[in-house]
């Protein structure tokens, strides 16, 4: 039942925020903050009380499970379950949700209640995605995150340069994700019907569908359907067009949630659904996926260097970082998959930090154009130091979580795909270039305009410090996270070796 509450709390909190606007502007903010902290506390308590060792024979792989029938006629049920991976991501959602509320404290001035309604609905949808095991329910939550995000960008976004309006960015975001969601729906339905024609049982259940024997050419197309749906959200390079626009035009809270959590739903979807449902096809597809990951790493990095808008720059770095995650997921190595999970968390921290920082800069100098920055080091106290820390995290400086993630990915992938790792390593140099370029354009050089600016207040300082401490803590002692997700990563890694065995055996038979 606690799983239901995890999902319901943000939704209820959102409705409450909406109504609370009549008690004043501050009320929705405090309610939203309390709601997200509540989610965070619940998940941390679950974490402290959980046992995350590999399940023995016959034991459930889930830490908590909750299922009731929903539409029995079609075999649809409300099936929620929690394991180490979902738990970490739910906790991350709670944490970044709280940060998103905090960072929009002064930024959002009109329709405060409705803003927080949308924010909390997104987060509720995300928690749902992380917990849902029924494919229909998963799809429902997957789509549910999009609509409030659309409003968040369209109503509270910044209108950027001419031709780059927030409505346009929001529409683009919506079309991309909606179209990809449609692909996933088709793939889900096809899978269900194949299972129906095999067994005569109509079911959307994850456990049931995992064993489905799908005929060969169809299985590949279904795998591709899932892959593209998640690839758009990750994003993987040809499908990344929505990301820079959405990030650049979204309010800070929107960017934080997009980069910090929404991108992670895609990686989660791959680990949870795309790979286990179609292990052999995924194994066969791995070289393509890895190549796409490489293209993402390099292409994202090159484009990041060419941006003038600070938020667009950070957005493109996300593409680059997610390339590492994609490579890791298809490497079939437990070390790399564990690394990818760490990298997801690390990227959530570092990109959230950078987005919040650029939001704080925007509040002070009212521009995101780096050509009109420069020399801010002498004008703003403290913030440049924090920027340098997060930039260092973003370029994978050891002792930050990003380093642990990236290097585990590379160490894990090297034995199976050395060439991929060699090329991906070029991304490490490029990461240094774009990260330092940001630093240099914003904070170094002569002052673009004279005059000191206000330093961070307690709220801003606290957010930055918390993120930084977490980044370094995970960088120096990631073991608690690794232990939590070990039971998830190991089976996913084994999928590929099993798949390869099967293929080899099939080859012998032939």
């Amino acid at each position: 039942m606690i799983l239901v509450w995890l999902i319901l709390i943000p939704f209820l909190g959102g409705l409450l925020c909406w109504q609370a606007e009549r008690w004043g502007e501050q009320a929705p903010r405090w309610i939203a903050l309390a709601t997200m902290l509540f989610v965070l506390v619940i998940s941390v308590l679950l974490w402290l009380g959980g046992n995350f060792s590999l399940p023995g024979n016959g034991e459930s792989q889930w830490l908590l499970e909750w299922r009731v029938d929903w539409i029995p006629r079609f075999g649809i049920e409300i099936h929620l379950a929690l394991d180490g991976l979902s738990l970490i991501l739910v906790a991350l959602t709670g944490f970044l949700g709280a940060l998103a509320v905090l960072c929009s404290w002064h930024e959002i001035a009109h329709r405060v209640g409705f803003f927080h309604l949308n924010l909390l609905f997104i987060l509720g949808g995300v928690v749902g995605v992380f917990l849902a095991l029924d494919l229909f329910l998963f799809f429902l939550f997957w789509e549910m995150m999009l609509v409030p995000m659309y409003f968040l960008i369209a109503l509270w976004g910044h209108s950027g340069s001419p031709g780059q309006t927030r409505i346009r960015a929001a529409t683009r975001f919506f079309i991309y994700t909606q179209a990809s969601g449609l692909l996933m729906l088709v793939a889900i339905l096809a899978l269900v019907f194949v299972h129906y024609s095999n067994t005569g049982e109509l079911s959307f259940s994850y456990d049931v569908l995992r064993g489905t024997d799908v005929p060969e050419p169809l299985a590949f197309w279904l795998m591709l359907g899932f892959f593209i749906a998640f690839a758009v959200k990750l994003p993987v390079v040809p499908f990344h067009g929505w990301l820079p626009d959405a990030h650049a035009q979204a309010p800070t809270a929107g960017s934080v949630d997009l980069a910090g959590i929404l991108l992670k739903t895609a990686a989660y979807g791959m680990i949870r659904f795309a790979l286990p449902l179609f292990p052999e096809q995924s194994a066969a597809f791995a070289p393509v996926a890895m190549t796409l990951g490489l293209v993402g790493i390099i292409y994202g990095a090159v484009l990041a260097c060419g941006q003038q808008d600070i938020k667009r720059l950070i957005a493109y770095t996300s593409i680059s970082h997610m390339g590492f995650v994609l490579i890791a997921l298809y490497s079939g190595s437990e070390l790399a998959i564990q690394g990818a999970i760490i990298l997801m968390v690390a990227h959530a921290f570092s990109s959230a930090g950078l987005f919040i920082l650029s939001g704080q800069l925007y509040e002070r100098i009212h521009t995101r154009d780096m050509r009109t920055m420069g020399g801010l080091w002498s004008r703003i106290p403290v913030l440049p130091g924090f920027t340098l820390c997060f930039v260092a995290a973003s370029l994978g400086m050891p002792a930050t979580a990003n380093f642990v993630g990236e290097f585990m990915v590379l160490f894990g992938t090297f034995p199976s795909a050395p060439v991929v790792v060699v090329i991906a390593s070029v991304g490490l140099v490029l990461a240094a270039i774009y990260s330092l370029l940001l630093m240099q354009r914003v904070h170094y050089g002569p002052e673009y305009r004279p005059g000191p600016l206000k330093g961070p207040d307690a709220r801003e300082y606290g957010m930055m410090l918390t993120l930084l401490v977490l980044t370094i803590a995970v960088g120096l002692y990631p073991q608690p996270l690794l232990d939590t997700t070990a039971a998830v990563a190991a089976p996913v890694a084994e999928l590929f070796t099993d798949g390869a065995d099967l293929a080899a055996r099939a080859g012998e038979v032939n």
Partner: protein, 622 residues
Amino acid sequence: MMVTPVVLSFLFPLMGTLILAFSAGRLGPRASSVIGVGSVGLAALATLWAVMGHGGGTEGVTLWTWIAVGDFQPTIGLAVDGLALVMMSVITGVGFLIHLFAAWYMTGEAGITRFYAWMNLFVFSMMLLVLGDNLLLLFLGWEGVGLCSYGLIGYYYQGLDNARAAFKAFVVTRIGDVFLALGLFLIFMELGTLDIATVLARAPELWAEGSATANLAALLVLGGALGKSAQVPLHTWLPDAMAGPTPVSALIHAATMVTAGVYLIARLNGLFLLAPDVMLLVGVIGAVSLLLAAFAALAQTDIKRVLAYSTMSQIGYMFFALGVGAFDAAIFHLVTHAFFKALLFLSAGAVIISCHHEQDMGKLGGLWRKLPVAYGGFVVGGAALVALPLVSAGFFSKDEILWQAMAAERTGLLIAGLLGAVLTGIYTVRLILGTFHGEPGSDHARHPEPGTSVFTHHLPLVVLAVLSTFIGAWIYPGLGGLFPEAPGDTVETGHTLLQVLAMGAAIAGLALAGWLFLMRRSWLDNITDKGAGAGLWKLWHHAWGFDALFDRALVRPWQWSVRMLRFDFINLFMNLPALIARAFNAGLVRSQNGRTRSYAVVMVFGTTVILLALALAPGGGA
């Protein structure tokens, strides 16, 4: 018990960093200096304690397991042996003196808290680099010092050139670091561990000498070392890095960080011994670097750039020593070099501050009477740099290197080393004469303000000057037992001959320089002003044009591709469906024109078509 002092030795600088970083401007310059200098001083004391308590051999302690997934078990663990202790002593000892000097040098600068925070963080990272018992922790320190170097080169952030120099330093060394990282991946895949001792034990068991894997692993590690130690071809960042404050150049870009590559290769000696070809390459790169840099140093006008090229040249000697298998000689030279190069840089710093940030030799001169302490520092340091026989520290270490090359029968390398020694003499004399003798070239040099502080100005210079004499060579403990046998350990014949040769080279350099600069000054100026001489001068002044080469071969294509890709052409392809939809829209909108007559026409046309279709369709109509 060893653990306490060793842990303290790097915790003190870390605490210093944290206190300074979180003071958020509440500390005054004086308090910042006290904390910054004090923390390194305490670290030096802790190191002294560790050295006293060291019982020989390797003592290790694992603080905690960093990451544990399957076989991948790197720890946060320390390994203390003679090599680590020598390095720690250099880092904290020389580091402390430089910090102390910085208190004088940085007086009146803005952001002194930031300066000391970075410096302390640097000492911390460097300590982790030498103490780490596994390659991943070493890599942590390795990258950490790079970041600190970035922060300190860009310390004067308002100049765009400084920011660019910092950027260049970081990116170029990062290229080397990626090679090192690939080396780590390879080592882990093949040997299943990153623990240094285990790697060194397993490598000879699993890899045949000269096998492709061993060569590749050594080559990749070498790539990392080249970047950090500014050896050809990844050396172009070092001269530009002089944009940082002079104490930074002394600590990071002379005494410690740039020698990290030497430390790395010495630490992984077993790996390199399995790859004789790579060892030879190390030696050759060292020789090439030392010659290229020595020639470049001849034609610099900025005193700090002369010292930068001389640093590169001296590290070339260390690589040269590593290449012939004389690891102990390389570390010996590393230590003496740390002493005398720190001395030279600090003396240069004293000159620069006294002359109001004037560092062009053409505008200095005639300072020897007015800045006696700095002059003394330059003379003693310069003597060590040219390896003045018997009295200087540099003589003993350089002699050892040349002797090992001779014993290893690497005649080509030996000749390069001797030639380098001659060149060193020439550029050192040129540097000292240009800075301290002759006529002052500017008002700043005519009226210098000598440093007067005994504690923060005189003391560091004097201590380093003492260490740069034979005393510095004398206190070096010798690490022969830690390393595989060097070629010169077994051979005896010819050592005396070599010593004579080395002395001869140093003295020849000095004499030649004296003759050239004192007797034939005008002739020299003539030559360098026109014709081939001027071309040579220009070539050497730009250090053989590596910068221009990299600019054309790498930087410009990169910038071009960034400009080309800036508008995200792949995304434009994804806009294709939108464009097609829009084209349809444009076509159909035209029919929706609000003119009744055209609607009527279209309707009639449509009706006719449908009726005709019905009439003509098979089975339809009548």
